[in-house]
């Protein structure tokens, strides 16, 4: 039987991170060189390496018997806990009625984009998940390139907005930012909010990395700066190392009851509610406790140490620049100064660069520029610094926290040898590249592409 598939489904592309991950899983056992049985150095996949916090695990154990459907919006205990969490950590007063829970922030973003009318403004580089959703929903959208400093420029936002005819525009603000690791400060947010008020721009503020901010006192939620127009999304996936649990939440703007009613309808139509045992477990993730607070604190310290090492490792390679991460477990490396060298090795696109780097002998996985909604010929790449045993690193940090700079370097060497080796491999790759050792860099397999 021949099946007919909807055109708009066919037109979207597989989100690149998942494509890459699928590819890497398949590649893993594929290299014919026996010395490469270690797999690959993983700078590509953005998953926190730590264990799920014990309070969450314990709460899940207690609630495995909860087989009944949860209320659509989320169980009361969870909405209340998120409200308290927002107050304690983000200094905003949120009525629990404004909080809705969904099966992962990704699906919540999708639901918001389904509901909100208007043209989407997508600052680039961007997380690799937004664009497939926007395209699938056939929404109008415009890129907003952030340029050299990798942050939204209010002036550019206003200029773009003035060109758009829509009554309502939707800005996707990702703060702290994936892929750059950068943080918007209060003043920057205020300037963006000013344009949003003036231009009738609704903000979806994806703050999933909020708790990973290294100097946490510096994080400011857009929900505080622009409370009447911001949908704040967050969840357990990144800061609580529980991406696999699949739970996220949205805080609706003040006075957006109508939108909430529509949202609930969409939830009821598409998925009813989030897994009940998982919701009960999540309560403990958001409720304040010394143990949770310590967990958040230690994990953000370790991310900072790994980020610093990766940043300095890359900077020491001639021709490579990089953002200096202030949060998240990513940075954006910039290899554009080596464009000529790439071209001499017949590497014309960012995609080809990623592919050549995954090959023998480098075996290093990164997320190339076009995947981050940059030009295909933009040789930038997102590099995640999470390829280590998180539980081990956590325990080691707890028993003996590094104090000096050299302690910190030693901590990385002891706890994240694959990050160290991976950076060495990248160095080797660029040594070969700049020496124009063409035969060693060029793609061995002409057919070599990332499969669907």
């Amino acid at each position: 039987m021949k099946f007919v598939i909807d055109q708009q489904v066919q037109d979207i592309e597989m989100p690149e991170n998942l494509k890459l991950n699928t590819f890497l899983q398949e590649f893993h056992s594929d290299c014919p060189s026996p010395e490469c049985s270690f797999g690959f150095y993983g700078f590509a996949f953005g998953q926190s390496p730590f264990h799920v916090p014990n309070p969450i695990q314990k709460a899940l154990i207690k609630n495995v018997g909860k087989g009944a459907y949860a209320p659509i919006q989320g169980i009361n205990e969870l909405c209340n806990a998120i409200s308290e969490y927002s107050k304690y950590y983000f200094h905003v007063d949120v009525d629990p009625k404004r909080i809705y829970v969904g099966p992962g922030t990704k699906e919540i973003l999708f639901n918001l984009l389904e509901i909100l009318h208007g043209t989407v403004i997508l600052p680039t580089p961007a997380w690799l998940g937004y664009l497939p959703q926007i395209r699938f929903l056939k929404k109008n959208y415009h890129m907003l390139p952030t340029g050299v400093n990798k942050k939204i420029k209010p002036h550019d936002l206003r200029k773009l907005s003035l060109r758009l005819q829509d009554r309502q525009k939707i800005l996707i603000l990702n703060n702290p930012n994936n892929p750059t690791g950068l943080l918007y400060d209060k003043l920057e947010l205020e300037e963006i909010a000013e344009v949003c008020r003036e231009q009738n721009i609704v903000v979806i503020s994806d703050e999933i990395y909020a708790q990973t901010t290294y100097d946490f006192s510096k994080f400011v939620t857009m929900g505080k700066i622009y409370p009447e127009g911001t949908f704040v999304t967050n969840g357990l996936s990144k800061s609580h190392s529980a991406g696999g649990y699949r739970i996220g939440y949205v805080i609706f703007p003040e006075n957006a009851k109508d939108v909430r009613i529509q949202f609930k309808k969409i939830q009821a139509t598409e998925y009813t509610s989030v897994s009940t045992p998982i919701q009960h477990a999540a309560v403990e993730g958001f409720q304040f406790s010394k143990e949770m607070d310590e967990y958040l604190n230690i994990t953000r310290k370790i991310h900072e140490i790994m980020g610093e090492y990766t940043y300095h490792g890359l900077k020491s390679i001639p021709g490579i620049k990089s953002t200096k991460p202030q949060a998240t477990f990513y940075l954006l490396a910039d290899f554009n100064h080596l464009k000529e060298e790439f071209e001499r090795s017949n590497i014309q696109t960012s995609q080809k660069f990623s592919e050549s780097l995954i090959q023998h002998p480098y075996h290093t996985a990164i997320v190339g520029g076009d995947t981050l909604v940059l030009e295909r010929t933009d040789f930038s790449a997102r590099m995640a610094f999470v390829d280590y045993n998180g539980k081990q690193a956590f325990e080691n940090y707890l028993s003996d926290p590094p104090k000096t700079n050299s302690d910190r370097i030693e901590f990385v060497r002891d706890n994240a040898p694959r990050i160290v080796s991976g950076l060495d491999m990248i160095e080797l790759y660029f040594e070969h590249l700049t020496r124009n050792a063409k035969s060693r860099i060029e793609c061995k397999y002409e057919e070599f592409t990332i499969p669907n």
Copy 2:
């Protein structure tokens, strides 16, 4: 700030079961008569009353530490277990590659409707969840009324299909059926399959109630009859009393690799994957074990006993007819013979009927006809027989299974007193109605409507 909402979102209605449930939750504490503190007799909400099977609970406990994202399609162990389960219980050989897991059957149905091009054929009466999805996705659709015997007539299916211009049509087959509790036999499925082959109709066979078939040897999956064109969906929600876990699966037709690739893309775009701990727990629900088999067996026996009692209770009320359930925990009661009496009490629609029955002194919740995609003036209603303590009933059945007919009636009286009282209330309601005790039946509150 004024938010602009997409028109197609505004146009869909809240799925009625959830609307009703929301309403009932609010109503619960609302009745001013102190003797009604019991709440209401719940024949409306379709949730299995039993406990989550122990093997599933134990497996969830073991896997609370699994915080990593699962593969999009589902973890291998789960796809393998579902394949074995299909073989053992449904006598079909399914390559695990054809099995995809999603966060509830509802979302899987939604995803299939997103992907599959074509006009949807919806036999009525129907489960209350399909239509909001179809409408939200702006799909063309046609009802296919099933008439007196409440089953799809192949002749009518052919006739309707010949009128439709689409290259591909999608039949939603719900077997065993919600709301009727009826089961299609092999011959009936073969006749439907013949029309589908001839008319290029793809079948989505929602078999979520398969395991509740009272005489389980009689259940036949459409996946066996029409393997080249059927998408079979099923899950843990109904037969395993774990609707709150949110996990379902689809078995793709043979040779539908292209559709599978599109499906995976949609999953990756919308929700990534199903909760990892929940997936590991589900493995035990599908893996054959004596304990699971006994659970499925006992729960279906209890459903049968409750169904029989409800069926006979309704039939004994003059003027009321009903389907005789062979599976599920529903039946479709038919009150149309009392249309004149309804009209005399100023009850013009099925909705008004439901509303008058929830009022004092009846306090009985049912799902009215229009909610089941019937005419507004069709006085039919779905009645679920699940308002009892399932764990208790399960244990009582296990220690002393009823054998004779009077044992079974006693079992209901002992274990489901609210079903007994609820049926008495319905009898009282109709006694009042047929006596035309208008003042007692009429809606007290003119403003009385089910809120959004």
